[in-house]
């Protein structure tokens, strides 16, 4: 049964983007449109989630062509959950952008690009076709290029060039990998690939192609040793952009890895997932060590994205139900926390006028509530109970211990410790330390002079900056204190990922497809 509902997450941002591009570029119109559309997106995603949580896998055969021939959009529970998180982060971003994005960027279509980005992300989460996935990746990529370079000076362009160069390589590798896989199987539909891939005679060739996918998606997900573009670029654009990138973009890569390495490439787990496990461990450790020595607050956070990706990949690499459950839960937690940390980091950065923690300070004295607001995501990231990060870490480590993968567990524990170190480094420097220059400057006092920081903010603008942080922090606490519903969902997702028959059935048997007959 076709479910038009799952088209909305793609079409709504797309239409909004077009509207934002042609409507007048006043702040009220643009921001209003963006916020309204993302709020609507939240509702739609929740509706999709509600349906998917019932155990049905929603599908739409575009153009009414039956499953393996036309393109199918599929929303299983994983996609639905990712959509929900995406829409929440998008809403937070749209609100934060009201105060953070300047008029010039607004005039040149910031909100338009933001919505295009969302369209790409949602499309990637929803599509059930490998080549279509590539297309949505490209939509996402070009919008991220636009957002990253928009209104940038010299240093922002440095970062953008690296971002673009490495991501284009990833794109081309992905295209090649898709080509190879098509050449072996003759299919692009994920469900029919799931049926056809195990039938390829030269199974080792499939393994080699899987490696190509691993590298292509690995660049997107920023795993070791392919992560360079991330710390090179994420600290340069406006905070709004960093935040949504940090929250969502790498996670699309992670999602894709989860998708292909649970649905398609499960024939040689011993080889592929062992490589994934090494990748995961090295990603954690190098990421966290990179963060430990940084001084730029957003760069610290950027390196932490990498180390946290390691945990998610670890969940996939162990490839047990418990591990996948942990990895999925980790991803959900991480998106919320990481976007929030960037939002908060942005407020801190704005007050100081530059991003270096050594120049910050005194926030605990002047803004205790805001300090608490920082501590929630920071400690959650560090895995301190009872915040969301603890359960995430606990699940992944428990899965590792179950599999007796001592080395990766040791790496995970070490990474956890170093994460605490660098979060508290920020805390010590920006919050506890006496502000070297203006000890009594309140939270929204503009930096003194000579910096390109923003002018003093109105009350409404302050609200726009703080509200998203508060919302996401509340979510973090909620997940921490009562993880039961999230765990139940993650459990169901892990079930679906470990047994892909349901997915294949939902896509291929939704109509009487001749292919299924021939494949039997």
């Amino acid at each position: 049964m076709d479910d038009w509902l799952i088209l909305i997450p793609v079409l709504l941002p797309l239409s909004t983007a077009i509207l934002a591009a042609v409507l007048p570029k006043s702040r009220a119109v643009q921001a209003g449109l963006s916020v309204a559309a993302t709020a609507l997106l939240v509702f739609v995603s929740l509706a999709i989630f509600a349906k998917a949580a019932g155990g049905t896998i929603l599908t739409v055969s575009l153009g009414s062509w039956p499953a393996p021939f036309g393109i199918v959009m599929v929303a299983d529970l994983l996609s639905a959950v990712m959509l929900c998180i995406t829409s929440i982060i998008a809403l937070a971003t749209a609100v934060y952008a009201i105060a953070d994005i300047d008029r010039e960027r607004l005039h040149f279509g910031f909100h338009s690009f933001l919505q295009f980005l969302l369209c790409g992300i949602c499309g990637a989460f929803l599509t059930g076709d490998l080549f279509n996935l590539y297309v949505w990746f490209e939509v996402m990529l070009i919008s991220s290029f636009a957002l990253l370079s928009l209104g940038g000076g010299k240093r922002q362009l440095y970062g953008t060039i690296k971002y673009i160069a490495l991501n284009l390589i990833s794109t081309l590798l992905l295209l090649s990998a898709i080509g190879l896989l098509y050449g072996m199987t003759g299919h692009l539909n994920l469900a029919s690939l799931a049926v056809a891939v195990p039938q390829v005679e030269n199974a080792n060739l499939v393994t080699a192609t899987a490696i190509l996918f691993l590298i292509a998606f690995g660049i997107k997900a920023a795993v070791f040793p392919l992560f360079f573009w991330l710390p090179a670029s994420y600290h340069m654009p406006p905070v709004t952009v960093s935040a949504i990138f940090a929250g969502l973009l790498t996670k699309v890569g992670v999602y894709a890895l989860y998708r292909v390495f649970s649905l398609l490439f499960t024939h040689d787990v011993e080889w592929t997932h062992t490589i994934l496990l090494w990748v995961a461990g090295l990603t954690m450790v190098t990421g966290v060590l990179g963060a430990a020595v940084q001084q730029n607050i957003r760069r610290i956070l950027s390196f932490h994205i990498i180390s946290q990706i390691g945990y998610m990949i670890m969940g996939l690499a162990l490839f047990t139900k418990a591990a996948i459950l942990g990895g999925v839960f980790y991803t959900i937690h991480h998106i919320i926390v990481k976007a929030n940390l960037f939002f908060i980091g942005g407020i801190v950065e704005r007050r100081t006028g530059n991003p270096f923690v050594r120049n910050m300070g005194g926030l605990y004295r002047v803004a205790p509530w805001f300090s608490l607001l920082f501590l929630v995501p920071a400690l959650s990231l560090a895995g301190i109970p009872p915040l969301s990060g603890f359960w995430a870490k606990f699940l992944v480590i428990r899965a590792g211990l179950d599999e007796q993968a001592w080395l990766i567990v040791a790496a995970a524990l070490f990474t956890g410790l170093m994460t605490i170190y660098s979060m508290l480094k920020i805390w010590n420097e920006a919050f506890w330390k006496r502000n070297p220059e203006r000890p009594d400057a309140s939270l929204f006092d503009a930096p003194p002079h000579g910096s390109h920081g923003a002018p003093p903010l109105s009350r409404a603008a302050q609200f726009c900056l703080l509200a998203p942080c508060a919302l996401l922090a509340a979510l973090t606490i909620w997940i921490g204190l009562w993880p039961q519903p999230f765990l139940a969902v993650a459990d169901q997702i892990a079930d679906q990922l470990m047994n892909n028959e349901a997915y294949v059935q939902a896509v291929l048997h939704s109509r009487q497809s001749p292919l299924v007959e021939t494949m039997r």
């Binding site: 079409l11 077009i18 153009g63």
Partner: protein, 138 residues
Amino acid sequence: MNSTILKAATRILMALILIFAIYMLLRGHDDPGGGFIGALITSAAFVLYKFAYGSEETRKIMVLDSRGISMLGIGCAIAAGLMSLFTGKTFLTGLWLPAYVEGRIPLPVSTVLLFDIGVYLAVTGAVLTIVLALEEDR
């Protein structure tokens, strides 16, 4: 470049190229061609016009801003897709005028054609945006 000959020739050539472009667009469903190729030919025509008359003039004859054109193109494509919802089919299901199906009109008037026109407009607009912006930056 301010040559009268070029200007005069451009007017004629422009018309010819545009007709050819639209021909390529329309025949795409049955023969080599289609929206993208038509769009590239059209952009070529406008680039030619720009060389002759300058970008100010080019912007004038384009009626819409080039960015608007590309947005309009995506809008057309989405609209073509959404039309099928009225008949209860899913997004992007092709619908044809009954007259075409019965063979009474040669033009494939359909949502598929509208979609292709969307492609045409989007690509034309985008290419022109890039070329004009680059050109004006001198």
